[in-house]
């Protein structure tokens, strides 16, 4: 019982949760307007599209893969949405086409990684440039601004009589589903197994390529949804929509305790990391801290978190070694 309590207190999820609480309390006390509903709604809405990108990325990184093309997929899907609307298509059809485009992008990544066998970092680095380039080829430099009111309302207003912005709803629906998949299904356990050791997983009968391909397709589809939200939030389909979002998303995943080497990390941790980044950015924003300094702060947070976990692991390993040695000495002393 004692060890489980200690394990719980030192688990990364709980450290993050504690950090979140400290940050929220500190910010509420020091920044006027932080605790207000208006700031809550804006800060949450601001991350609504990036938050979606985080979910499939966490799964991919746990499976020892990565998809850095997510922001470009989001941008391209937004462009498809805008062009469909411009051509006179109804909104539901335009959104469907955008989601389809994102899914196809994800499938392309998936095929190149699983069936052709190329490393995912290189593949998605290529498609990052490819999909972003397509945005400019398709649209030129001029954004499409004729976005229906219902969509811009979705991106800019809150649910009536609450301070919950509409555009965070897709995340609130999807996040529990991703957590359930990862922590409660056989496929989720296989995802961990692939990340923990692909060869062992293969011998254990896990169909690696099928799961990997599925993850890339889901990543594409969810990125497309994020792209639709970006269009809604910014009232335009721009070729530079969602530009650079992949870095924030990857930061949150690592901050959430997902291992770079795969096989480790949990959804609650990732969600706490998301809240932490949202809260930190919001606090700095109200303090009129520049965009550059905000990015620096988030970067520093990531480095510090890595240092903290690394140190904790070392201390833990050292303690274990010492206990084992003491045990061995006692046993040899009493034959």
């Amino acid at each position: 019982m004692r060890t489980s309590l200690r394990a719980r207190l030192t688990s990364w999820d709980y450290i993050l949760a504690a950090l979140v609480v400290v940050l929220l309390v500190a910010a509420s006390l020091t920044q006027p307007g932080f605790a207000g509903g208006f700031n809550f709604a804006n800060s949450v809405s601001q991350m609504s599209d990036k938050a979606l990108l985080v979910l499939p990325l966490a799964l991919l990184i746990i499976a020892r893969e990565i998809d850095i093309s997510v922001a470009s997929v989001a941008g391209l899907s937004g462009v498809v949405l805008g062009m469909a609307l411009e051509a006179g298509g109804p909104l539901p059809l335009a959104i469907t086409l955008a989601l389809l485009a994102g899914t196809l992008c994800g499938a392309l990544n998936g095929v190149l990684v699983t069936f052709v066998g190329l490393p995912s970092l290189v593949v998605t680095l290529g498609t990052l440039a490819l999909f972003r380039g397509l945005c400019y080829v398709l649209l030129g430099g001029t954004p499409i601004t004729d976005i229906p009111l219902s969509l811009t309302t979705f991106g800019n207003e809150t649910i009536p009589r609450t301070y919950v912005p509409w555009d965070i709803v897709p995340f609130l629906v999807l996040a529990p589903l991703f957590a359930l998949y990862l922590h409660r299904t056989a496929a989720g356990r296989r995802t961990y197994a692939i990340g923990g050791g692909p060869d062992i997983a293969r011998y254990a009968g896990v169909r690696l390529n099928r799961i990997r391909f599925g993850l890339f397709v889901v990543s594409g589809a969810v990125a497309a949804l994020a792209g639709v939200i970006t269009v809604a939030r910014t009232s335009q389909a721009a070729p530079d929509g969602a530009l650079g979002f992949e870095l924030d998303a990857i930061t949150v995943v690592f901050l959430g305790g997902v291992s770079v080497l795969g096989g480790k990390g949990r959804m609650p941790g990732v969600c706490w990391a998301l809240v932490l980044v949202v809260g930190l950015r919001s606090m700095l924003q109200l303090g009129n801290v520049s965009g550059y300094a905000q990015s620096a702060a988030v970067g520093a947070l990531l480095i510090l978190s890595l240092l903290a976990t690394n140190t904790a692991h070392r201390v833990h390993a050292a303690l274990t070694r010492r206990r084992l040695r003491a045990l061995a000495v006692r046993e040899s002393a009493v034959p």
């Binding site: 949760a17 207000g36 910014t234 924003q285």
Partner: protein, 343 residues
């Protein structure tokens, strides 16, 4: 068990924050849109990029005006030049309850919805330097009429080369909207204006908004056209690069330059008399935008065409069509007036 509890905790916290938000203060959106301040207000300045020297000069102009008539300047700094990146900064200024927002739009629509939200909260919105969607702001404080600049550059070139001889244009990119409009203006005036009948535009080259490409193109233009007497460079990066390159090869003097660029970047070449520049006083642009913001916030003007905005030492400006206020004709920068330009 632990995992489930952790998820539950996250959800509870989020809901708690949402609900406490409901019970909290008024979101600001229900305030009347026509609030008038009785005195000077705080004005939030929102540039495309916080580090842009054009924008920091503009900010200094606004701060100087604030010392003159009271009120305060809050300067914010997005790190990416997209309309979307400006949204959190607009929201920040709303949450801080500034009286007016002055924005240089990174694009027309990116932050427009947030700006409309600000206007609903009673905050006056002005665009400066680069416009946003017309219904998202009341006034657009413009540095110069776009249509005027092409003619000014051609006149400057005519003066430099004595209304006679071959010249070239070194533009930015093939698709640049303003530049192409200016070049068309130049071509049509060359064809019709008798005063310019001895001048010949030999070619249009493109410097791609890169210093090294501009330098290279300027050198090859001089070699390709031995009789070339001048180059018009209507791009802020191009003109300093071309001046630097031609001064190194020793061609500057035989070949004159004019165009559009921050005067401070080519000060020494302008002093030498071989380079002219069409520019405006960015410091004054900041001052005018600040005066306009205070006048709007105190309901001294309503942003209707024909209204007059007093701007202290700068004089009085008239609101034009679609709420456009023009700082004034751009100036030809010569050795005589170069010291008036801080940027």
């Amino acid at each position: 068990m632990m995992r489930r509890r952790s998820i539950a905790l996250a959800v509870t916290l989020a809901l708690g924050a949402a609900v406490s938000g409901c019970a909290g203060e008024d979101g600001g959106a229900s305030k009347a849109a026509d609030t008038c301040s009785s005195g000077p207000v705080t004005v939030g300045y929102l540039p495309k990029l916080g580090t842009d020297p054009y924008m920091t000069t503009l900010r200094d102009g606004a701060k100087a005006a604030a010392e003159e008539i009271g009120g305060e300047v809050v300067y914010t700094a997005p790190s990416e030049a997209t309309g979307a990146a400006q949204i959190p900064f607009v929201n920040q200024l709303i949450a801080q309850k500034v009286g007016a927002i002055v924005i240089s739009g990174s694009d027309l629509n990116g932050a427009a919805a947030a700006l409309r939200k600000a206007r609903r909260a009673g905050i006056k919105v002005i665009s400066v330097d680069s416009d946003v969607a017309t219904d998202a702001r009341s006034l657009f404080v413009n540095q110069a009429k776009t249509s005027e600049l092409g003619a000014k550059m051609l006149d400057s070139m005519a003066e430099l080369i004595g209304h006679k001889g071959e010249f070239a244009v070194l533009s930015s990119t093939e698709t640049a909207v303003n530049q192409n409009a200016w070049i068309e203006d130049m071509k049509s005036r060359l064809a019709t204006d008798p005063k310019l009948k001895d001048m010949k535009l030999v070619t249009v080259a493109y410097g791609q908004e890169k210093a090294d490409v501009n330098a290279q193109k300027a050198k090859s233009l001089v070699q390709a056209y031995p009789k070339l007497k001048g180059i018009i460079v209507p791009a802020g990066i191009g003109l300093p690069a071309a001046a630097e390159a031609l001064s190194q090869t020793g061609d500057l003097g035989r070949v004159k330059l004019t165009g559009l660029a921050p005067a401070s970047l080519i000060k020494k070449y302008i002093r030498g008399g071989d380079v002219q520049d069409i520019w405006w006083n960015v410091h004054d642009l900041g001052g005018l935008s600040y005066h306009a913001a205070q006048a709007l916030a105190q309901c001294k003007v309503k942003a209707e065409p024909g209204e007059r905005i007093p701007a202290g030492e700068l004089g009085t400006y008239t609101v034009g069509e679609r709420g456009e206020v023009v700082l004034g004709p751009a100036t030809v920068v010569t050795p005589k007036n170069i010291d008036d330009f801080e940027f």
